[in-house]
Structures are given as C-alpha cells and as structure tokens.
Symmetry: C2
Subunit: 248 residues, 2 copies
C-alpha cells in the first residue's frame, strides 16, 4: 500500500526571544529547526516545514502558519498533541488542519496581521523587555494615531525597509493601520498584503519618533518620496512585535 502524501497546515505560537528567528540555521535553535525535529520524532520520517515567511530573532508569533507534508496517517489532533509533547515549551502548536495540494503557506497568503506593543512606563520592568517596547518618555498619542492613518494605502516603503530589499519592488499595500490604547498599553495593529524585512518595526519606530516629537507626522509622506533609509535610525525593538495572523 502506498500512503498518500498529506498537507498539514499548522498554526503556531512562539516566544521569539527563545530562538534565532524562524528560519533554519546550522548550529543555533530556530523555530523551523525545532519544528522539523519534532515532526521527525512524531512522524518517523524526514520532513521539511515551510513557513508563511521568516520572523527575525526576538519577534514573536501568535498565528504563524507552516506547512508540513507527510505520508504518516496520524490524525491531526493526535499529531498536534504528540508534537507539543516533544517541542520546547517556547513553541506551541495551536491547530493542525489538512489542506489541499494547492495550498502554499507563503504564496497562498492574502494578507498578514502584525501587532506592535508599546508600554508607557515610569520605570521599565526587567521582566517585560522581551515582550514590549517600554517607553519612559511622554508620547503624543494623537499625533501617533494621525501618523498611523498615513500608512494606509499603496506606498513606496523603501524608507521603512532593510537595505538589501532595495533591489525588489518596494511598493506595498497596507489595508489597516491603527493604534488602540488600553491604560498604559499602546497597541499598533497593521494589516498588509505583504511586508518587507524590518518594515513593521520601522513603521513602529516612525510612530515612536512622532510620539516623542522627534519627527512630524507629515514627514511620513516625504519618506515615501525621498526613500531615505537613514531617517528612522535603528528599527523599534524586535520584542514588541507579534505576527498575529496570516490570512488566506
């Protein structure tokens, strides 16, 4: 009997501070690496786990999506339970479902939802650095909200990309961009059809600079035109960023 190859769509959450990013790298612990090791233990065959995209070191996920092809006939619920049993606790599989051959975690994605968390603090907590961007200075939230509005639509985001991306098409479409405040927590939600490397952390950095009064909201429009990558300096800290959901 030849077993049919099945396509398992895996939704996973992880603490990005425990890994050297998503993508497989020799000699260091990555999300893809521990997922492949866990899958091999459970399924008894060599597998490749393909993600919807990479996340960098320190960037978290609540709803990363990965595809795993296997000939093992294990039921999906059992597979989830068994893989969570051997995975490090910093990665948890939330759901597994069987999908068709036409599904590709990256190319089938219609949009991605990222969230950036800023905590307004008097004194930074040593326990929350991995999970929030903690800001001790005053931030003008209204100016930040106005700036977040300006991200919506189709723009040339060269000034918000990591330099190697200069070669590809730097135009991206942002469907949603907004800031909610709940007490001391600022939540920046952005949904787009595609993002370049470091792009969300650079959007967040622009918002922070604007909140601090170090940049005018209007300058965002200028950045679309002048593509000046130096204006924003270093991107906002990785620990504040969460990949919330990949939409298909």
């Amino acid at each position: 009997m030849t077993l049919i190859e099945r396509n398992l769509k895996i939704t996973l959450a992880y603490d990005g501070s425990a890994f050297f990013g998503f993508q497989l790298q020799p000699g260091v612990s990555t999300v893809q690496g521990v997922m492949e090791s866990a899958a091999e233990l459970v399924l008894g065959e060599n597998v490749r786990v393909v993600g919807s995209g990479r996340t960098d070191t320190g960037v978290h996920a609540l709803g990363q999506v990965a595809l795993l092809k296997t000939r093992c006939p294990i039921p999906v619920e059992k597979c989830k339970f068994a893989m969570n049993g051997v995975l490090p606790y910093a990665v948890r599989i939330r759901a597994i479902e069987e999908v068709g051959d036409d599904f590709h975690p990256r190319f089938s994605a219609k949009a991605k939802h990222y969230r950036y968390l800023i905590r307004l603090v008097k004194e930074r907590s040593p326990f929350l650095e991995r999970f929030f961007c903690q800001i001790e200075e005053f931030l003008d939230i209204e100016n930040m909200r106005e700036a977040a509005d300006r991200f919506r639509g189709e723009h040339d985001f060269s000034a918000f990309a990591k330099s190697p991306d200069i070669i590809e098409n730097p135009v991206r479409t942002i469907l949603e961009s907004k800031i909610d405040r709940e007490n001391d927590l600022l939540v920046f939600d952005v949904i787009g059809t595609g993002f370049m490397r470091n792009m969300v952390r650079n959007l967040a950095k622009a918002l922070i600079l604007i909140g601090q009064g170090k940049m005018r909201s209007q300058e965002i429009v200028e950045l679309y035109r002048n593509r000046d990558r130096r204006r924003l300096g270093a991107p906002a800290p990785a620990g504040g960023l969460y990949l919330m959901r990949v939409m298909y």
Copy 2:
C-alpha cells in the same frame, strides 16, 4: 582630601532567565557581573558587589539586596539613575540607600520572602514559561493549602535540599507559608529565616505533587524524618520562583 568609603545598599529586580544566576562566573553573564561592570563605569573604580545570597539560573528577583562599597561621593539618586542607564534592561535598580558599616547583605538578613507562581492552564502559553510554572492537569488546591501549613515552624529540611547541603545543619525555620489563589494563578508565599539551595523549588514541587494526588500531605512530615532526597524528584522549574524581599 581622603574620601570616606560609603556603604550603598542596593535593592534590585531582575529577570533571572537572562542570566546564569546571580553569582559571578567567568565567561557568562551573571547579575553580579553586570552590576559590577555598571558600578565600575559609573563610579570610576573597581568595586565588588555582594548579594544577600545567590539565586540560580532562571530564578527571578523583585527585591534582591546587594552591597556596594565606594569612595565616589555621587548622590544615591544619581547613582541609581546612572547605573540603570548602563545596566542591561533585564536588571533594574529599584532603590539605593546609604547604610552603616555594620550592615552586611547576607549576615544582617533576618528573613527572606520567596514567592512561587503556578499558572493553571488548559494549554501552556509559550510566552509565560520563563515566569510561571504552568500546569495543565487538575490540582487539588485544598490539599496543597493543608500541605503548605505543614512547612511552618522549625524542621529538618534535608529532603528539600540539594545534596551538597547534606553536610551543614539542615534545620530551617519557616515563619510563613501559604497559598493564595487568584483566578488561574496560584501564589505560594514562603518566608523563612534561611533557605538551603533549591529548597523553595523543592517545597513547591512537594505542593505540586500533592495537588496532583501523587503524594499525600502527611508525607511531608515523614520527609522531615526520613530525609529522603529522592522522593520529590527534580525541583519545580526555576522560572516560577521570585525572591521578593530580604528583611533586615
């Protein structure tokens, strides 16, 4: 002019998962190590930072106390601000006060307050492993409360110590031991005049075993007598433990 040596009592909080414990070790990042480096940068002299005791890798502190002797005349508030400016974010100085020559962070301590945090979860969160002991099974809280009561008083805690401690006097006095529940969070607070290495994590482990029905509450009294170090197995995870306060 000869500057007088001052004794600075430092209260500090840290994320224990970011360090290889409190105590200085060559080649790895420790709380004592980063504190001494920060003090040297700010005070311009070689200093030794002496803690109230070590905490192991992964164990957190909200109120660790350390002593620093310096001839630098910097005001304490300025010293706190400057040291927090150069320390890694995973360590934060909460307060600095000048104390007399007779103060010793370890020998002057009258008691210590530790807290152990257990989260009752359906599914473990990948983000909280460093900060809680996450338990997916049912725990009988009433049995755990009864067991926590039995820790109070003066007992031979050999069965709750790491083996090298077998040589010293294993009798310790527990002043307070209780469990509070707030929704899904179990808070085990224990105050004692002294603790042996791994002792609080082993007390927590006994409570968890009792909550899981794997041990009877009455067995604690037997452990005081039979000193059986193997009964509890590995101590409860370091990430759930917090040094809350050192009392002088």
